[in-house]
Symmetry: C2
Subunit: 652 residues, 2 copies
């Protein structure tokens, strides 16, 4: 079994699935693809990095989000509409979507933990939403009511279909975890209304913010009603044909410059681009549209090669919260919105299922550990909205008693005026077990490493139960014990991240070890065999250099340890030392430290020239300095600080 042969076998197999009711609670459930998702219900994350975050999410973040939305009147918007009252809507035009993302998180969490408060909160909150639905299915607290602008009068910025999409996604999660309830039925009525209002010959336009596209495709998967898939396809086909009024911001922002099928790279508003791509994959998979799927994989490939941060973060520009040009990846002005990280995970997961290629799971891991995990603090009640790789000035403490501007704070903030990120993190953590593994006809692939159990069926229908023991990412040892094995020969595959290939070692049931060069370490398993397999991933800190075309990173180095990007914070430097004045020698090599690393650096550049350009460089080191490095996801836990992922490297 050669690696090449392995990859081919994944590409050639094509797993067809039957829609069932109730559906398995998978984060996304395509009806075909190279790999099949493992239901979130089949995976229990029982300890370690992600279990801790799921617990904090369940016990703190969900309540935190709800209490802010109650306090700011975003939930009361629904009550007001239900009563038919004329009053200004609280919050921004997309505030409804935050309630829906919280409902989605609650739906997943209720299924995960069975917590009574979570279930009761889902029921009561979803009932308030349903009560605001109009008789014809329309549901939005900001348009169409007394004293409000008419429905669909501002498709560019009104976010009506965006909000509807999030409602439908929440209902999809509910349908998959609990079956059809009143909320799911309301989502179906809303989807029916949208198909009516935006069908052929009606409003032949799109929403300024994609989201309805994957939502309708997923609702099709839940209901089997092809109208939703067709409407999703229509929205996709219309985008790129200029049905929006772009104003000064231009068509690229809305991905309305080029049809999805013709684009080569993600561009414009990053979250919009990623949500749109999710919808395109969903439609392509259901339509068996290889050209459309190929268009998205091409865009993913070019985006990952040229427009993605070391953290996995996407979106280089504050202006328009958008992707930049190729290799435009400034560390300090990185927008790298938390929501773009969430969306990137959802997109890559779809592509992983469709195509089976491990690089999608590699990017998911990188993004989960370095973007999604970076946003919330340890308490789960403060969040980063933007995730720059460098902070040039310590900044100030975040607001605690009122919403923070989304991109201004140097510290995690409790809530934002545009507060899309906290609820997006919440729904991701609550549904995280759905990303851990995949199955194929005769194989189970461990895509992400977390302590826990998987008890599922291969696509062939054979049951398999395994236990994963690991303290990843703090330890590189992953032990997989097969506790129940299929009745036929099968293959257990463990993803080996790109940075580990050639250095990872796998030991099979006999204890025989080998170095893994390939992206999936496949262990052939015999029918009924209850074996234990051990993967050793090399976590020692390593130097990483940038593509020389990235101007902002030229002659700089970063340090990574396993899946974690590390960073330096000025709070760890001698008092009064700025990270601006620190560099590392050409032969720098990181030393491992507890939960991080350390670089021997030098202090330079204390001069203050009246003009910063001249005939000579003035970069004389004046003293040696130790540079402690911590995991990037833990930065800003100790108050305002300068921070750098990339450190300048002195010439040899």
């Amino acid at each position: 079994m050669t690696p090449a042969g392995t990859a081919r076998s994944h590409r050639e197999s094509d797993i067809s699935m039957t829609l069932t009711d109730p559906q398995p609670p998978a984060a996304v459930l395509p009806s075909s693809g190279t790999l099949r998702p493992v239901s979130a219900a089949d995976v229990r994350i029982t300890g370690g990095f992600w279990a801790q975050r799921q617990e904090v999410n369940a016990t703190a973040s969900l309540r935190h989000c709800l209490s802010w939305m109650e306090r700011l009147g975003w939930t009361a918007n629904f009550d007001r509409v239900a009563r038919g009252e004329e009053a200004p809507s609280a919050g921004r035009e997309f505030a409804d979507s935050e309630i829906y993302k919280l409902l989605e998180a609650l739906a997943w969490e209720s299924a995960r933990s069975g917590d009574a408060w979570v279930e009761e909160t889902f029921r009561s909150l979803s009932a308030r939403v349903v009560a605001a639905q109009q008789p014809d299915g329309y549901l939005n607290t900001r348009f169409g009511g007394p004293g409000q602008e008419p429905r669909y009068s501002d498709l560019e910025w009104g976010h009506e279909l965006y909000c509807a999409g999030h409602l439908i996604q929440a209902a999809v999660a509910r349908a998959r975890t609990a079956g059809r309830d009143e909320f799911v039925e309301a989502a179906i009525r809303l989807a029916d209304h949208i198909c009516e209002a935006f069908g052929p010959g009606r409003i032949e336009r799109v929403d300024g913010h994609p989201e309805i596209e994957p939502a309708l495709a997923e609702l099709y998967r839940v209901t089997g009603d092809r109208r939703y898939l067709e409407q999703a396809r229509l929205f996709l086909q219309r985008r790129g044909t200029g049905t929006l009024d772009h104003g000064e911001i231009g068509p690229e922002y809305f991905q309305d410059d080029v049809p999805v099928r013709d684009a080569d790279v993600l561009r414009g508003h990053a979250v919009r681009a990623l949500y749109l791509s999710m919808g395109a994959v969903d439609v392509a998979v259901e339509d068996r549209d290889a050209e459309l799927l190929g268009a998205v994989t091409r865009q993913w490939r070019n985006t990952v090669a040229r427009r993605t941060y070391l953290t996995g973060g996407m979106g280089s520009r504050h202006e328009g919260e958008s992707f930049g040009d190729d290799f435009e990846l400034p560390s300090d002005r990185a927008y790298s919105e938390t929501c773009a990280g969430v969306a990137s995970v959802m997109l890559s997961h779809r592509l992983l299922l469709a195509e089976g290629r491990p690089e999608y799971a590699d990017l998911i891991e990188r993004t989960l550990f370095n973007v999604v995990a970076t946003s919330p603090d340890a308490a789960g009640t403060s969040f980063f909205y933007v995730n720059p790789l460098q902070r040039n000035a310590p900044g100030t403490e975040a607001e605690t008693d009122r919403p923070s501007p989304r991109a201004a704070s140097s510290q995690r903030a409790h809530w934002f005026d545009v507060s899309c990120c906290p609820t997006n993190v919440a729904r991701t953590l609550a549904s995280l077990s759905g990303y851990v593994a995949t199955t194929s006809d005769r194989g189970l692939q461990l895509q992400q490493y977390a302590e826990g159990t998987i008890d599922t069926r291969l696509a062939s229908g054979d049951r398999v139960r395994i236990r994963v023991e690991t303290d990843y990412p703090w330890s590189g040892t992953v032990t997989v014990a097969v506790e129940e094995a299929p009745g036929e020969d099968w293959t257990l595959a463990l993803r080996v991240p790109a940075w580990a290939r050639g250095r990872a070692r796998i030991a099979d049931a006999t204890g025989a070890e080998r170095v893994v060069e390939e992206a999936l370490a496949e262990v052939p398993m015999s029918a009924g065999e209850l074996a234990t397999v051990r993967l050793e991933l090399p976590l020692e800190p390593r130097l990483t250099l940038p593509d020389p075309r990235i101007d902002s990173l030229r002659s700089s180095v970063a340090v990574e340890a396993g899946p974690l990007v590390l960073c330096a914070e000025s709070v760890d430097l001698p008092a009064g030392t700025s990270l601006r004045s620190v560099a590392v020698p050409a032969d720098a090599a990181p030393a491992a430290m507890a939960d991080g690393a350390e670089l021997a650096g030098v202090h330079v550049h204390e001069g203050e020239d009246p003009w910063p350009y001249g005939p000579a460089e003035a970069a004389e080191p004046d003293r040696e300095i130790r540079i402690p490095l911590i995991p990037y996801h833990r930065w800003a836990e100790r108050g305002p600080s300068e921070m750098r992922v990339w450190l300048p490297r002195l010439p040899a």
Copy 2:
């Protein structure tokens, strides 16, 4: 006479001036300062670089601006208001200011050339403006009329006082060049209204966009009415105290975060920051307020040392059109708005007059040649709004038949939705002779080099007439012939830019040459002596390296020639070669070429990695390549192209 002694003598002298009516047509006319402005009427630029641009401005740009504003209905706004009609205003909320900046340009141009069309256009256009004035002096086409929002109901974004400031500046130019006319009287009525409406105990707030501050200070200089100076001072004192509602954009954008007197560096929206600083200098000079003046010079110094591009451009961020952090100076995302360049010239000119330090004139020269001269095309009918130092993709041709988004075009555009830059360039070119020279008690200082004549009086009252012969910046030879000399000994001083010091040579009337190490080459002149002095400035192209704290420029080089920044354009590379794939060897040295230079470079980085970060740098040169360099101000004259000022330098 030592250089140190010279500098001291400049700082210690303090020239007081008497307000006269009509005033000399100086671009700005402080009543005290180290140096005195030379009236624009006393300077004729007769040939060369700037004469050509003044001619194009007079014959093409002024008509171009007028015709676009007629076509878009911005001028007709005034006619509608004069008729008392209710109709929506054309253009953005600051459209009035464009008419006023055109009027200012026309006023200067009428005085410069005496052109009949220019004078007639000033009269007819100003009459339309005056006709729209309300009985109480208020004048704005967007507020306060039937069906419009009330006056001063949106100080943050309404731009009413900003527009008023530009009207007053136009009236100041008219008063100084032609005396008081109906338009000047209208400006005085408007200023009186503003003093009434915004005086103590009335609306104690400021405008979101500074401009009224320098305008009122200058109107005080024209009229002698201290109310205007007092109102300017009030506006300055209020800024930084939070009288504006900042919303999500925050107080820094409006310079409302810190009082002017307490700030250390320019920040927020660049044009706002610079206009505000102009007003602060004007008030400080009139009040003999050394602390306030010191605050602005401190901010100028820190801004020039840490927040200014090689071109002199200011404003690192598209978002908020704002300054960035210290050393945040990305080439590709440089905003470097043309208007910020114009404002920087006006601010530095004020500081030059106040303090006499040559670095202000150095920055004026750099900014005129590399920002102001870059904006218009050779025909004077297309303009850059933003002036990045790098363009990563060729982009597309600009719109020709409709206004372009301000920051989107890769090419100069005929007009913009926000079209502040064309009229700002026009008024600068029309008044440019005011920046050429200054005088002191017993000296004349040549601050900028252009072929022409200066016929003026020293501050002592002695007349001096000189002729300047030069083809600068294409030739470094500047010959100054004294054609009429004062009756007492005096000093002719020629500014030697920082890049020329130690290499420039000056020859006095006897032909005796010496190398100039200092910033002002002073030539003692005897009473009545009609001598000729010759300055030789070294224009051969030179390598420039960046401060290592500028991340985006690390290990990069630029080439300058005299005051000109040079750049590479991909249209000059072999077909299919991207500037992304070009670097220069560590020992690169530019060779002079006609109107530019050339670097021997190498072609690198053709690879396409799926992930742009890894354990090794892949920057192997694969072939040698010649990199032609042209003056930056001439880029994009040959269609869409990649462009770079800074080129990566390979390690030694």
